[in-house]
């Protein structure tokens, strides 16, 4: 047997019972009282409606589960498809939703135990606790402890518990059926109850949380392609049927008044029903009472246990994507459990249990799961539309796209019927998850989702606002990133050498991007099919090999586009470059000169520092840096410093002063050099004609590094209207440096063209601190 098969030891029955065992929890044992009080006999309909809504999502979850049988389930699929922003939302919602649900199960457990022992309510200082809360607290501590030390369950325990539960419900249903009186179901809809159906559905929906938990252990299921959909869909169908029968019989067999508003109604109903029978002179009411009581305990316990376990899987998956710190998932060296994750989840359960009431806990659990379910359906649509490589589900949703659309709409719509307070609470949580992404996770996560990549790869066909929003929420990995757009094999090596040198000086990463030009006549989708990606890959493979000789990390991407030059700016944003090193030549990046205003607009807003290399051979032995001060010359100084450190270059600084002011010019150059860590360079002060001086000095140099003297230099460069003709006249290679100037995040999110004048946050300058106090204030 292969390792993979050995790791998978959950058979079809075990998988099914995870779903059924998690779902048949407190919901059916506790909520009939609330449901009947508000909806009368229509309570049965609310359970069916909940099941139908769950079924749509179950179909979507099945497809995603067979395509990606990975730890973490729903969170994992949403993160993969919709990206880390939604990953953060779904991860937090799923985690906290499970904690709320577990607190609800424990509350239910407390109600049941309380029926048995009749514990008194407790008041500790200002905290007044119901008896059920106190018992639930003890129960919660017990389950947290069991999961913390990871006590060994016997393989069949879960199956036995679920079969026992189903047996108890079946016996009750059968006995109820013998005593059913259809009259007690009338009127089916007492006045005022029809309007309660949807709100009550929203409350009882907590009884359907659990089928997605099967997907969170998908990696452990044998033959997931077959068993996972069967378990997920089967458990929803089974549970819905059981609930519906159970409720109809309950309401037909005992007076509605006994059920309405009673948190342990099924126990009282059982006592009444079984009390009519006797055996060997015994009254069986105690048997019925005990059976249902036992069922309630088993059900709440198995639900809570499965939820705690499932939440640690979600934590693990979140930690793996760096949305939370991976330290959360440390494994206990003795118990072999992710003890920190379990302890924190346990703490949350206890806080929620103490702070909430039964209905609040149930609805909070429901809303948060509904958010996850809605997103899950959207994730399926994205995966189907984008068809990322490797997406090959064994099970496919029928009637696509109807099923996921209905699933998403019904899941989100049901939220509307939930208590506004709970919705506000949950909205706050979503806002927290969004802030969490931007303030904490964004710098740490590495992978972007399928959706963002799909939009960015088609940036021309998509509305600007979508492209802009997609690139604005991309992860911002930490560390220094040097993007090198490549298109011409002839200049690849020199650009990569330059980029790698800068990356190596900053412990950074080289991001080689091949922006493959697709003729306007060809659609991007058609180009993709013709293998444009594969063709572009060759160049990147070479770039990767070249960069690796410098010992820097390399990342490669292919972007298909109709407009190669403009795409450079988009790519710099998408891949979060700190500096872009690009070529400039006759055919370096598309034909300059067209779409002037568009380029102007783009080049006016540089997303990062730009170094534009006019390649006349790569030789960094003698560098010439002309300066007249200013931020862009500071950038050229920083580049010179880095090249000197990497290639041991000689650096010459040139300043062209006004006629007769040579002494002042020298003083300026000395202080400028000191400021930029280039004191030991050779100083050259000339007077008179700037371009002539540069040209003369360049004869001795191998590379001229020159800062843009004003903004928009790049745009003039592509339009061919550069004032400094000298750049064309010199014989050595030229490196033009222009600093980042960026529109604000808000502008980009809404795609407005406003030109902000934001100060530079993270350009090339602050990174180069190896030369003492050279960080020039700007």
């Amino acid at each position: 047997m292969s390792d993979e098969e050995l790791a998978k030891d959950l058979g079809p029955l075990a998988a099914l019972t995870i779903g059924v065992g998690t779902m048949i929890g407190a919901g059916i044992f506790v909520l009939p009282g609330t449901a009947v009080a508000r909806a009368g006999p229509l309570a049965a309909a609310t359970f069916v409606l909940g099941g139908v809504i769950a079924l749509f999502t179950a179909l979507s979850a099945s497809e995603l589960g067979t395509a990606m049988p990975k730890s973490g389930g729903a969170y994992f699929y949403i993160n993969r498809a919709l990206g880390p922003l939604f990953g953060s939302i779904s991860g937090w919602a799923n985690w906290l939703g499970l904690a709320f649900a577990s607190a609800f199960y424990m509350y239910g457990l407390g109600e049941y135990v309380n029926t048995l022992v009749g514990a008194p309510a407790l008041a500790v200082g200002p905290l007044a606790l119901e008896a059920a809360q106190v018992i639930g607290l003890v129960g919660a501590l017990l389950f947290i402890a069991v999961n913390y030390v990871g006590a060994k369950e016997t393989g069949g325990l879960q199956i036995v518990i679920v079969l026992l539960l189903l047996g108890i419900l079946a016996v009750f249903t059968a006995v109820g059926l013998l005593n059913a009186d259809l009259e007690s179901l009338r009127p089916i809809a007492p006045p005022g109850t029809t309007g309660e159906v949807l709100p009550v559905t929203a409350i009882v929906f907590v009884s359907y949380l659990g089928f997605v938990q099967i997907t969170s252990v998908a990696e452990e299921i044998k033959d997931p392609g077959r068993n996972l959909p069967r378990a997920v869909i089967g458990s929803v169908l089974l549970v819905t049927t059981v609930y519906a029968l159970f409720l109809v019989v309950l309401l037909a067999a005992v007076p509605n008044e006994l059920v309405a508003g009673n948190d342990t109604a099924v126990v009282d109903a059982a006592r009444l029903l079984f009390g009519q029978y006797g055996a060997f002179g015994f009254d069986l009411s105690v048997l019925g009472w005990g059976m249902l009581l036992f069922g309630g305990l088993l059900a709440t316990a198995s639900s809570a246990n499965a939820s705690i376990l499932s939440s640690s899987r979600i934590n693990f998956a979140m930690g793996r994507e760096k949305i939370v710190t991976p330290e959360l998932n440390e494994i206990h060296d003795r118990f072999g459990t992710p003890y920190r994750s379990i302890a924190i989840t346990g703490g949350l359960i206890i806080v929620f249990l103490l702070a909430g009431n039964l209905e609040l806990l149930a609805t909070a659990g429901s809303v948060l799961h509904l958010i996850v379910y809605g997103l899950l359906n959207l994730a399926l649509i994205v995966m189907r539309e984008a068809e990322p490589p490797g997406y090959d589900p064994d099970y496919e949703v029928p009637l696509y796209p109807v099923v996921p659309i209905v699933g998403a709409v019904t899941s989100f719509a049901l939220i509307i019927y939930i208590e506004p307070l709970v919705v506000v609470l949950s909205a706050g949580l979503v806002a927290f998850a969004i802030l969490w992404y931007f303030l904490y996770a964004r710098k740490r996560v590495e992978s972007s989702g399928v959706l963002a990549q799909w939009i960015l790869d088609r940036s021309e066909e998509m509305p600007d606002a979508a492209v802009s929003a997609a690139s604005s929420v991309q992860p911002e990995p930490e560390g220094y990133r040097v993007m090198v757009p490549l298109s011409n094999p002839a200049t690849e090596k020199h650009l990569i050498t330059l980029g790698s040198a800068i990356a190596s000086q900053n412990d950074g990463t080289v991001v080689a991007v091949n922006i493959a030009n697709v003729p306007d006549q060809t659609s991007l989708a058609a180009a993709l099919e013709r293998g444009a990606h594969d063709a572009a890959q060759d160049l990147l493979d070479r770039a990767e090999a070249d960069a690796e000789t410098f010992g820097v990390d390399v990342e490669t991407h292919v972007v298909l586009s109709h407009r190669t030059f403009e795409e450079v700016f988009d790519a710099a944003r998408t891949y979060d470059a700190d500096v872009t090193v690009m070529g400039w030549g006759e055919d370096a990046h598309g034909s300059p000169g067209r779409a002037e205003s568009a380029i102007d607009e783009l080049a006016y807003s540089l997303p990062c520092d730009f170094l534009v290399f006019r390649d006349r051979g790569f030789d960094a032995s003698r560098l010439l840096v002309p300066t007249a001060g200013g931020p862009d010359s500071a950038l050229s100084a920083a580049v010179a410093r880095m090249l000197r450190a990497e290639f041991d270059s000689e650096v010459t600084l040139l300043h062209v002063a006004e006629e007769g002011e040579a002494a002042e010019g020298r003083a300026f150059l000395e202080s400028w050099a000191a400021e930029h860590g280039l004191e030991d360079a050779e100083f050259l002060v000339e007077t008179g004609d700037v371009e002539g001086s540069i040209e003369r000095a360049a004869r001795e140099a191998t590379m001229l590094i020159i800062g843009a003297t004003e903004r928009g230099l790049l745009s003039r460069l592509v339009r061919g209207s550069l004032v400094l003709d000298v750049l064309y006249d010199v014989d050595c290679s030229v490196l033009l440096a222009e600093k980042k100037h960026e529109r604000s995040l808000l502008d980009r999110l809404f795609g407005s063209g406003a030109r902000g004048e934001d100060a530079d946050e993270r350009g090339i300058e602050p990174a180069a601190t190896s030369h003492g106090n050279d960080a020039a204030p700007e």
Partner: protein
């Protein structure tokens, strides 16, 4: 006929710390031609969901192998073996027999009795196996 006890050694490691300690303890006994199989058992539920995600446990195993390798002398090579099983001790013995090991070699971890009671002593399982010699090496830090 005589067989070198250290010809093919099967070394179970429990976690990265244990891996480092075991590697340091075993290094002096290894011959250049010794075959070194370093095993980590991913505990399985055997019909119930596992205590921790399998993917997570596999990462953990890699981390342990890495620590082991770092503590080994350059010249010695090791082969990592990941096993899956419900009963850790039993899985180690089965894995060692299957791999044709000449001995199971490990360093015991000092554990309090009540934790042993809760989690079961792997050490006892190894010592009680009737098939292979077991060498218990003293750890380097107590």
């Amino acid at each position: 006929m005589s067989t070198d006890l250290f010809a093919t050694v099967f070394v179970p490691i429990a976690d990265p710390d244990d891996a480092g300690e075991t590697a340091r303890s075993i290094a002096p006994y290894l011959e250049p031609d010794s075959e070194l199989l370093v095993a980590h058992v991913v505990p399985k539920g055997g019909g119930v969901p596992d205590k921790a995600s399998v993917e997570q446990r596999e990462e953990y195993a890699e981390e342990a192998y890495e620590t082991f390798r770092e503590q080994l002398p350059e010249a010695v090579s090791m082969t990592p073996v990941t096993l899956y099983g419900r009963d850790v001790g039993e899985t180690i013995v089965e894995g060692a027999v299957e791999a044709g090991a000449t001995a199971i070699v490990y360093t015991p971890r000092g554990v309090s009795r009540w934790i042993d009671l809760l989690t079961g002593s792997v050490s006892d399982d190894l010592l009680e196996n009737g098939e292979l010699p077991v060498v218990v090496l003293p750890g380097d830090d107590e």
